[in-house]
């Protein structure tokens, strides 16, 4: 009896890994055969980023039960710090993949660190109040990065948060230049690294969910008071989930930032946070495989609907509402379960009939 449960969990985890690996192999194969259109090739890396963002947000929203509306803020921290580091290391680290990985680790670490610092005061709040504070955090980050200047000149490394562009000493260049963001980025991101990041994320998140910490996090979500009564420090575990989630979002952000030639702070706004949240909720709260699939489908969907021209976004909105109604509505669920039961009965009868 005990075995079945463990196997069921393991089975689901295995399925998640399998789906991701098979998808990667298929895409790699098609790409090596030159069967992929430019558009699809272009989706590969951002889809990887959004999958990782969705999984990391799912850890917070689905597993930990805390609504965050500022996930794009962590993504932005990772993106900018990663891009700046990659640019600084241009001459010291030759290997592009290594530089990308260093950038991702740096972006993730910085995002995790800021997540930790913000978490100390903020995680005392709960529910919608935490949600609004994360929203506020995202906006603050966007505002600060939009007025941040990072560069090098003859006096060395320069960093400033200012209302007007500071002057460089002698020869030099701003890497990150306020609202202009970063331009002329040397693109480093590859699908293979993106795939690696997804695997890493799955490994960390699935391991976390099935460990002592994960159980504690879920316990806090299910019943905070009972969790405290068995000696779980609620704040610690919310913090752990928050920091891991921020770290992964930062890594995804660095991958994202190094996939485009330009990057600006306005991208990491409320709408991006909401988009990631849509991936998570549609994929199912706490359902990691669901996040992977919904991030992919919902990313491709508006692109696939380009043929609809002016009606594209309105139809996307309708599809979103309908999918939500069909996957969540209790009535629809009831109906589908009735249908499923009937099908089963029918199937059984047929079987019995066949047996006779």
């Amino acid at each position: 009896m005990k075995k079945t449960l463990l196997n069921k969990d393991k089975g689901k985890d295995f399925l998640t890994y399998a789906v991701v690996i098979v998808a990667f192999v298929i895409m790699q194969f098609l790409s090596s055969q030159g069967k992929l259109s430019s558009a699809v090739t272009g989706y590969l890396v951002p889809v990887c980023c959004y999958i990782v963002l969705a999984i990391s947000l799912n850890l917070l929203v689905g597993v930990c039960g805390e609504l965050s509306l500022g996930h794009a803020g962590f993504m932005g921290i990772g993106a900018f710090s990663g891009v700046v580091l990659a640019t600084l290391l241009k001459n010291t680290v030759d290997n592009a993949t290594l530089r990308l990985i260093l950038a991702m680790v740096f972006g993730g670490t910085l995002a995790g660190l800021i997540g930790f610092l913000i978490g100390i005061p903020v995680l005392r709040l709960r529910g919608d109040y935490l949600a609004i504070v994360t929203l506020a955090f995202g906006e603050i980050m966007k505002n600060i990065i939009g007025n941040m200047y990072v560069g090098t000149d003859e006096s060395g490394f320069r960093f400033a948060i200012a209302t007007a562009k500071p002057k460089l000493v002698g020869k030099g260049k701003w890497i990150l230049s306020g609202a202009m963001g970063v331009t002329g980025i040397k693109k480093l991101s590859t699908f293979a690294v993106g795939f690696g990041l997804i695997l890493f994320t799955l490994f960390v998140v699935l391991n976390l969910i099935n460990s002592k910490e994960g159980r504690a996090i879920k316990a806090v979500r299910d019943n905070r008071i009972a969790a405290e009564s068995v000696g779980i420090n609620v704040t610690t575990f919310r913090m752990k989930a928050f920091v891991v989630s921020a770290f992964l979002a930062g890594m995804a952000g660095a991958l994202y930032g190094l996939n485009y030639s330009s990057l600006d702070a306005a991208k990491f706004n409320f709408n991006t946070s909401i988009n990631i949240l849509v991936f998570v909720v549609l994929g199912g709260m706490g359902n990691i495989l669901g996040s992977v699939i919904s991030a992919t489908v919902l990313y491709i969907l508006p692109e696939a609907m380009r043929g609809l021209a002016d009606y594209r976004m309105i139809i996307y909105a309708v599809v979103l509402i309908l999918v939500m109604l069909f996957t969540w509505s209790p009535k629809v669920k009831e109906y589908t379960s009735v249908v499923a039961d009937r099908m089963k009965h029918l199937f059984k009868k047929e079987k019995e009939a066949a047996a006779k």
């Binding site: 929203v61 609504l67 005061p121 903020v122 005392r124 709040l125 709960r126 919608d128 109040y129 949600a131 609004i132 504070v133 929203l135 506020a136 955090f137 906006e139 603050i140 966007k142 505002n143 600060i144 007025n147 209302t163 905070r224 008071i225 409320f270 909401i274 949240l277 849509v278 909720v281 549609l282 709260m285 002016d310 009606y311 976004m313 309105i314 996307y316 909105a317 309708v318 979103l320 509402i321 939500m324 109604l325 969540w328 509505s329 209790p330 009535k331 629809v332």
Partner: protein, 293 residues
């Protein structure tokens, strides 16, 4: 004198936030959902008023009334089609649907009214601004917006405390299951809440566009988020809280711009919000609900 002028500016934008926040907070209190489409209902309200007054040439009052009617119908329709089927599911699910509705309204507005901005004629355009002490200016819009938001707040407070429907709203907001057991039609109560909230949204739209005259399909989204912030600030679910939160948010925003930095005003406003929530975790006038063990 400057400080007074900025105070007036702050109250002016703050009362716009307050009116939007009142709708937000009411729907939240009763339906326990964050209706992110509220800002877009405001935009529709403003467009309707614009069409009625500019294209049909009808008087302002007709524009306001008609936009209230249209928004009420729209609110009930949205609630019935998109939110009601999800009653009883986690509030996050409804939140996502609300976002879908928001996308829908914005894009529908773009198809109907095009993305070109329209300049909204203030409904009090014939009211001369008041000039006090020489340099102080109070525009008609400020006076009307503040007055209307106070009236709405008092009206709502009276409505929820003294009328039958209002009382049932409060009952639903306290404990939905218990209210149902007491024979209150919960679905109908929630629909009525949406109807009122949407009618308020129409008023908010008209007043907002009177102060801020640019009307575009995306006009409602940012003020909507600001108003949501204001509602939380004041204690979400609390009617006087929404009013207080809105006005304070407006004043803080204006003072941050006036005395600190226009570049960093966002960071300052949201920073203050975080600090206040840390000190008062349920907002300024919100009730801290202790979970019963």
């Amino acid at each position: 004198m400057n400080i007074l002028q900025y105070l007036i500016n702050g109250i002016s934008i703050g009362s716009v936030y307050a009116i939007i926040a009142l709708g937000y907070t009411m729907v939240y209190g009763i339906a326990k959902m964050l209706n992110f489409a509220h800002g877009d209902v405001i935009m529709v309200g403003a467009y309707i008023c614009y069409c009625v007054t500019v294209y049909l040439g009808l008087p302002v009052l007709a524009g306001v009334l008609l936009s209230m009617v249209v928004c009420t119908v729209l609110g009930i329709t949205i609630e019935g089609l998109a939110y009601k089927p999800l009653r009883g599911t986690p509030s996050l699910a409804v939140l996502i649907t609300a976002i879908g509705v928001s996308y829908f309204l914005q894009n529908a507005a773009q198809l109907i009214w095009s993305s070109n901005p329209k300049s909204f004629t203030s409904i009090v355009s014939n009211m001369k601004p008041l000039h006090l002490f020489g340099s102080l200016t109070i525009t008609g819009e400020v006076i009307v917006t503040v007055a209307v938001s106070v009236v709405i707040m008092i009206g709502l407070t009276w409505f929820t405390s003294s009328t039958r429907i209002g009382k049932s709203m409060r009952a639903v907001s306290e404990d939905r299951d218990a209210a149902q057991l007491m024979g209150i039609n919960v679905n109908r109560t929630i629909s009525i809440t949406f109807a009122i909230g949407s009618a308020l949204a129409a008023v908010a739209g008209v007043l907002m566009c009177s102060s801020i005259p640019v009307l575009m399909p995306t006009t409602g989204s940012m003020p909507g988020i600001r108003a949501f912030t204001a509602a939380v600030f004041g204690g979400i679910g609390s009617i006087p809280g929404a009013m207080l939160g809105g006005i304070l948010l407006g004043i803080i925003e204006t003072f941050a711009k006036a005395y600190l930095s226009t570049q960093f005003s966002d960071a300052i406003v949201f920073g203050v919000l975080i600090i206040i929530l840390l000190v008062k975790p349920a907002g300024l006038l919100g009730k801290q609900v202790q979970e019963k063990v």
